[in-house]
Symmetry: C2
Subunit: 348 residues, 2 copies
């Protein structure tokens, strides 16, 4: 319709040089955060699209980034990875890049997926999710010299020969905020429902609760439950805690667990529940939850990957970002146990 916007028109609107606009698109790590935000908002406003074919010829890069898509499970916990995929696709698109999706059965299969993509499709690099102890994927990518960034920190130092770029959310800070929030509402017998020990992510979330309780000189004995990650598991753990302990609140490692706990607590007014991941389900049932800043994570992951692809690759960047607590009715102040204000969950 109208004239296609160019680097020059965007530069003029932003009051910066053409080279700065080019850096925003191709090498954002060279640009200050304020300028990045200003120029990106103008790029969005004018609907600027980089001329991909020309850039590909110039740089030898394809703009294709590989990502393994994981199952959506019960549609609740998978939602956080779907949200990350949306944010990553948008961050990539804004710089003229695309996400190439594949699936895999396990780590070894994911590595086979990398090989196949590198063999058959022009791929610049990979984004990995769900890092864990003994992760064989990062070692393979490092040794093959492939660019990659993980959403999730490396959980053991021995699996990867050299430090790599990662972005992660501080899960311990999230459950610490959830615990402090329940303390401020008058709860002192606050239980934790999480996963069995041994997963980095799960252990972190348990540690945030535990540290906050001990710092407040409150007991944790008999208030810690580990189970599989499902609504029924959370419901069973909460029902058990309500009968075997005097717990009045639950901090949960996921919204699935918290939703189950909320169901078990519905006949006990004043019991507080906080979930993790702030899914659409949490919002719909009025459940407090810890929110991961997925847009910030996706943008940082993409920028870190791009920084590795330029003519003078940047050093690896490690970034731990803070989650935020979204408080809703399920936090349930211990004093005001008015059932009209309590959230409810129907029988599934």
């Amino acid at each position: 319709m109208t004239q296609r916007p160019t680097l020059v028109t965007v530069a003029r609107a932003a009051g910066v040089s053409r080279q700065t606009v080019s850096n925003v698109i191709n090498a954002p790590h060279l640009v200050s955060p304020e300028t990045l935000e200003l120029v990106r908002s103008i790029l969005d406003d004018v609907g600027y699209r980089p001329n991909l074919a020309a850039r590909q010829l110039r740089t030898g890069r394809s703009g294709n980034i590989g990502l393994r898509m994981r199952p959506s499970n019960d549609g609740i916990n998978g939602a956080v990875l779907d949200g990350f995929l949306h944010a990553l696709t948008e961050a990539a698109q804004a710089a003229g890049h695309r996400i190439v999706l594949f699936t895999a059965a396990d780590d070894d299969d994911e590595v086979r997926g990398y090989r196949e993509l590198l063999d058959t499709t022009n791929i610049d690099g990979f984004v990995l999710t769900d890092t864990h102890y003994g992760d064989s994927r990062t070692r393979w990518l490092s040794e093959s010299g492939t660019a990659f960034v993980t959403f999730g920190r490396p959980w053991s130092s021995d699996s990867t020969p050299s430090p790599h770029s990662w972005v992660d959310v501080d899960g311990a800070a999230g459950t610490a905020a959830a615990t402090s929030h329940l303390l401020s509402l008058g709860h002192t017998r606050i239980a934790f429902i999480g996963w069995p020990a041994g997963s980095g992510t799960g252990d972190e979330r348990r540690a945030g609760w535990r540290r906050t309780m001990l710092d407040a000189h409150l007991p944790v004995e008999g208030l810690d439950r580990a189970c599989a990650d499902g609504i029924q598991d959370g419901s069973a753990a909460a029902a058990d805690l309500l009968t075997t302990s005097d717990a009045t609140a639950f901090v949960c490692a996921s919204d699935s667990l918290a939703l189950g706990a909320l169901g078990s607590a519905r006949r006990s007014p004043g019991v507080g529940v906080v979930g993790y991941d702030n899914t659409a389900v949490a919002a719909a049932v009025g459940m407090s939850s810890v929110a991961q800043p997925l847009e910030l994570v996706a943008r940082s992951v993409f920028d870190s990957l791009l920084a590795q692809l330029g003519p003078s690759p940047a050093a690896p960047v490690q970034q731990l970002v803070a989650p935020t607590l979204v408080a809703r009715a399920s936090s349930a102040s211990l004093e005001s146990a008015d059932p009209r204000h309590a959230p409810f969950v129907g029988a599934p």
Copy 2:
């Protein structure tokens, strides 16, 4: 670890020829549904992966399929497209194909996205979602000779020069099933909450409710509401219907609308609510909803696309599949208005 499975080992396990296994992977439209299912389950079991590089050399095809990713909105209605993306990625992977994701602001921008992908990346074809009246995308793809399949029927015959392959879910059948279900529970004053007239999908869903009511010789006047697609909109429409009409049940065009209606109906025991899309939120709050068979749709979309890519392309295939009703507590029999069995939604 173990020997990599080959076409021959899979054929032996299935008791079919090597060519049949090859057809299952590369030309599934040539294989009977029973054989397809048998061979695919064996391919899954043994973790067979086609040798992509060799096939790409042989066929000149890349195995890359482009798809525009849409925003997730409130995380409820966007969930159905996320579910479709999961199913499509898995169907594609099973035949050694991948999904290349991009985003776009509107139809024109999506067409620019096609051009850029075709210019810069080896793409075999596209999958389109959200077909609508005056859709310019299918015309462009048809005229450029690009292979594509739509999830969604063409809503006007004049926009595309020739018939193309599509798979759609029969939305009218879905709301008809929802209405019949509420009738069977004793409701006769059943209202519809949907979108303004003019969207093909929305009009179909309204038509299924209307036809079922008229077939039962029941009135529809004053029971039809149109609004934007959000929780607040559904809540306002239901509150208005509860005060201005004697409606006792709501059939809704989406789970977002139904969730809002459920909130407005929480102080009116016995009011029935049925949503559409059977999202995780519907399951979590005990809300009845119409489920689209996304795995079947994704597999059919992928098979139809593959049928266009072979050496002797198949004729376009049009496929309308039936949704199913998932009944939960929110259907609320008019007779047994026991609040202990009613689902509840907390204040957001």
